[in-house]
């Protein structure tokens, strides 16, 4: 259940970054990147099915909990291997590791609830439906080549 991003909707306001920091005691796990002047993209943990960070974690602090890549703060030694093992650079070590936990304990991730542009969701069906609609419109206009 990762957070799906509809990048065509992202307006680059960085509300998700702020919301994430607010609920995680000042340490955020979202990074909004700006590519040139034309795109803004929030970079998130993918909650990989076979997560590299969990494979490198030798204490079991990072582990899979269903679809979530969960983190047990009491087991972390702060070694930093997970930080280097994440292909997307979205696990941080700052004395101890921290990463997106999909706001464990809350009913849905705060970044999703906060995003004013509705660019984020955990609903794969919704994300896929939007993508299909967009390609259908493009095809109807004779594009897509």
């Amino acid at each position: 259940m990762p957070v799906y991003i509809d990048i065509s909707r992202c307006i680059g306001c960085r509300s998700c970054e702020v919301a994430c920091k607010r609920v995680h005691g000042g340490r955020g796990h979202v990074n909004v990147h700006f590519v040139g002047e034309y795109a803004s993209i929030p970079i998130f943990c993918h909650h990989c099915e076979e997560a590299s960070c969990t494979m490198l974690c030798f204490t079991g602090a990072l582990h899979k909990e269903g679809e979530r890549t969960a983190f047990d703060i009491t087991k972390c030694t702060g070694c930093g291997l997970c930080h280097l093992a994440c292909p997307f650079g979205v696990v941080w070590t700052d004395k101890i590791a921290h990463k997106c936990d999909l706001c464990a304990g809350l009913d849905s991730p705060t970044c999703i609830k906060t995003c004013p542009a509705n660019a984020l969701s955990t609903d794969f069906e919704e994300a896929a439906r939007r993508a299909r609609t967009r390609s259908a419109i493009i095809a109807a206009r004779g594009g897509g080549r």
Partner: protein, 139 residues
Amino acid sequence: MIKVDAGACIGCLSCSTVCPSQNITRTETERTRSIHWKRCKEECDLCVELCPARALALVPFDESVPEPEVTLDLVACRICGAGYATEPMLQRIESTLPEKVQRDASGLAWVRVCPVCRRKIEAERAAGQLVLERRRKSI
């Protein structure tokens, strides 16, 4: 006190983080990371237990033994050149992860790229998709 197997130490941040008495200090420059173990009298072996490389051992206190120190060079990111990790840490990642995940779709050996550049690459890849989509829309 702690005995260090300097050849086994991977230069990670574990022991210095877990030591409750701050007896293990870490100094980092742009190109090197040094770890220094003070001669401690405690019988605590938290760092020994939590060393991922099993490089530490608890030995009786001996004032004549010099305080151990390990200095490792930081590997430069292949893209931005910043020192971001020690070579043994990267080797541990390369030997643990399945080979097929160690290169991304473009063939890049991402383990040798720093996490900051990894995020940038991901953003640029996503932006590329967005531009492609916009171009199609404008046809």
